[in-house]
Amino acid sequence: MNTPKSKRPEVNYATRVDKVTFKSKLTRNLKAILTVIIAFIVLIPVFWMAATSLKSRADAVAAPPKVIFEPSMEGFIGLLTQRRQVTAAQGLEEIKQDPNLKWYDRVMLNRGQQIVGKSEYVGYLKNSAITAGISTILSVLFGLFSAYAFSRFKVAGKGDLLFFILSTRMLPPIVVTIPIFLLYRQLGLYDTTFGLIILYTVFNLSFSVWLMQGFIDEIPREYEEAALVDGYSRLQAFFKIVLPQTITGLAATTVFCLIFAWNEYAFAVMLTAQKARTAPPSIPSVLGTGGIEWAQIAAGAMGFLIPVAIVTFALRNYLLRGVTFGAVRR
C-alpha cells in the first residue's frame, strides 16, 4: 500500500549532501583537467620513446613524425642481437626458406640482415642487474644495521659519525671519478663488477643509513624491551620485533638505492670497459655504429626503464607511506 503523500517524511534539501554548488563542481573538474594536462606534458617524452622503440627504421626517422605506424620489434631485436648484412646475391631468399627460422629471424631478414648471435648489450644488461641488485641488497642491509645501532645504542661521536656518513654525498660523483679511477686501476678493481658493487654500496650507504634511522627512531623502544623481558636476546628481538616494523622503510630505501644503482652513468662509464660494463653507458655507444639506430636506442632506454618501473609500482604502497613518514599519524 502506498503511503499517502502528506505522510512521507520531508526531505530537508538544505542538508542534502548531493546538492553541490556549480562552483565546487567546476573547481573539482578543473583540478582533474589540470592533472590530465600536466600528466600529458610530462608523459610525452616517455610516449615518444615507447613509440619510437616500436617503429621500424624507416618510420623512426620519417618526417613529419608518424603517430600512427605499423609496430615492429626491429628496435628490440636489433638491440639484443648481432647481425650480418645479407644481399640477394649472397642467397637472401634461400636463407628465408629455412624452416627453422624464428619470428625474430624473419623480421630481420626482411631488413636484409641475418642474426648471428647475441649482442653485447645482453651481457651489459646482466651486469647491470647483478651490480644494482647486489649493491642495493648490501647497502640496505648495512644501512639497516648501522641505523639500528645509531638509533638504539650510545655510539661515541654519533653526531659526527652521522655527519661524516652524510658528507660522502656532498661531492658530485663526477668529481671523485678520476681519483677513484686511478685507485681502482692500482687495486685491480678497474672493469670488475665487484669494484662497481663496492662503489655503489658505499655511495648508497649514506642515504640508506639516514633514511633507515628515521624509520627506526619512530619505532618505540618499548617493543624491544618487552621482548627482552619476555626472554629474547637483543638480536632475536631485533629480527622478531623490529624488522617486521621496518618493512615500509626497507621498501622505500630499496627503491631509492635500486634506482640510483640501476641508473648510474658517470662511474660506470669511467670505471668499466667491457667485462663489467653496465647498460647505461652502452646505450649511447649504439649511436656510433653504422648510422643512428633510433629505434634501437629507444628500445634500450625502454628496456632499461621497465625493471625500475615494475619495482617501484610493486612497492608503491610502502613508498607512499615511506615518503610521508612522520608527517601522518599511523
Binding site: P220, E225, L228, V229, D230, G231, Q236
Partner: protein, 351 residues
C-alpha cells in the same frame, strides 16, 4: 612466586640522580605500589628490576639471590608498559604466545595453546585471540598485555602505569579486575603509578617516591593516616589535606591565618611554630560548631560535597557527605575533629 628485594639502589643519568639509595622488599604474593609524581624514578626502578638498566650501585635480589648481572631474559619477570606493549605485527594469540616461545622456555605448541586459552578465559579476551593488535581498543590492549604477562607465571609481575592511558570508567573497572586477579593468582606485583587513588585502592603496601628517594613505605592506612611528611600528606587524599601554619600560645593552638584557636592536650613535644594538617573529612559543618567562617565555592561530587570555608585570611576545605545546598558568602559554623590532626615541623617532617 617470589620475593623481590632492592638494596641501596642508586642510578644516575649524567648529572641527574634518578634513584638515590632506594631499598625495599616486595614480599611473596604482595601487591606493592610505587607512588610518585612524574620524574620521581618509578619507571627507572622497574627498569632496574627487570634488568633493562644497570644500577650504578646497589643490588637487586630475587628470592634472596643477587641478580645484578642477569639479562632481562634470565630474570623471569614480566612487565606491562603504559603503552606500546603489544607487538603490532602479530595477532593477540601470537602476542601472548611470544614469551612462551622464547628460546629459554620453548614450550610445546599444545601446552602454549592451553595456557593462553586459560589466561584469555580469566581476562575475558577469548574472542579477541585471532585479532590483530591494531584492531583493539585501549582497554582490550591492556587486558592482552596483562594476559601476556600472566600466561607464563613470572616470578615478579611489573607494571608501569598500565591504566594511565585509559578513560576513567575503564580504569576503574580494570583496577578492580587487576586487584582480583592478583589475589587469585597470587602474583608478586610491583605496580607503578602517579595516581594516589590507584595506590590506595589496590596496594597491600605503598612506597612513596620523590625525586629518586623513597620517602615512606607502609600500608595504605599508614600512608593516609600517618604520612611521614608533608609531601606524602599532600600526595595522597582527595581533596587535598588542609595545611595551615599554627603556633602554640598559652596552652592553645592558634591557626595563624584563620584566627582559630584549638584547645590542646599534652602538646609539650610540639615546637612553638609548626604546620597543622587536617584532612577535609575531619572538618565537619555543624550549626552548633565552635568555629565560624563563610562559604566559598562548593564542588558537589554526588556522594559528597567539597566545601571551601573562608575564615579571616585563610581557607579550609571540608568534605560533607551527600549533596548540600550552600550559597556563596553564607556564614557557616564548623568543628574540627581533633583525633586525626597531623603535625609537621618546619622541615615538613611528621612530629
Amino acid at each position: 612466586m617470589s620475593e623481590l628485594t632492592l638494596q641501596n639502589i642508586t642510578k644516575k643519568f649524567g648529572a641527574i640522580t634518578a634513584l638515590d639509595d632506594v631499598s625495599f622488599t616486595v614480599k611473596d604474593n604482595e601487591f606493592f605500589v610505587l607512588l610518585g609524581p612524574t620524574g620521581a624514578g618509578k619507571s627507572t626502578t622497574l627498569r632496574v628490576v627487570c634488568g633493562l638498566e644497570k644500577p650504578d650501585s646497589g643490588h637487586v635480589l630475587l628470592d634472596g639471590v643477587i641478580c645484578d648481572d642477569s639479562t632481562p631474559a634470565d630474570r623471569d619477570v614480566a612487565i606491562v608498559f603504559q603503552q606500546y606493549s603489544l607487538y603490532p605485527t602479530m595477532t593477540v594469540y601470537d602476542n601472548m604466545a611470544f614469551p612462551l616461545r622464547a628460546p629459554g622456555r620453548r614450550l610445546p605448541e599444545a601446552e602454549i595453546r592451553q595456557k593462553i586459552e586459560a589466561a584469555a578465559e580469566k581476562l575475558r579476551i577469548t574472542h579477541l585471540l585471532k585479532r590483530k593488535t591494531v584492531q583493539l581498543s585501549g582497554g582490550e590492549m591492556q587486558r592482552v598485555s596483562i594476559g601476556r604477562a600472566i600466561v607464563r607465571r613470572p616470578r615478579v609481575f611489573l607494571m608501569d602505569e598500565p591504566l594511565s592511558n585509559l578513560d576513567a570508567k575503564l580504569r576503574e573497572a580494570l583496577r578492580a579486575e587487576l586487584k582480583h586477579l592478583q589475589k587469585v593468582e597470587g602474583v608478586t606485583t610491583l605496580f607503578v603509578t602517579h595516581d594516589q587513588i590507584e595506590a590506595l585502592t589496590m596496594a597491600d603496601r605503598i612506597g612513596v617516591l620523590n625525586r629518586g628517594r623513597l620517602i615512606q613505605v607502609g600500608t595504605p592506612e599508614d600512608i593516609y593516616d600517618r604520612p611521614a611528611n608533608m609531601y606524602v600528606a599532600k600526595l595522597v587524599g582527595s581533596p587535598r589535606i588542609n595545611l595551615v601554619s599554627a603556633e602554640r600560645v598559652d596552652g592553645v593552638f592558634r591557626l595563624t591565618e584563620m584566627g582559630i584557636e584549638l584547645p590542646l592536650e599534652d602538646s609539650d613535644h610540639l615546637p612553638d611554630h609548626f604546620t597543622l594538617g587536617i584532612r577535609p573529612e575531619d572538618v565537619h559543618l555543624n550549626p552548633e560548631g565552635k568555629f565560624s567562617g563563610e562559604i566559598g565555592i562548593t564542588e558537589p561530587l554526588g556522594v559528597e560535597t567539597v566545601v571551601h570555608i573562608h575564615s579571616q585570611e585563610g581557607e579550609i576545605v571540608s568534605l560533607a557527605s551527600g549533596l548540600i545546598q550552600l550559597n556563596f558568602g553564607e556564614p557557616v559554623r564548623f568543628d574540627i575533629n581533633r583525633d586525626h590532626l597531623h603535625f609537621f615541623n618546619s622541615q615538613g617532617d611528621r612530629i
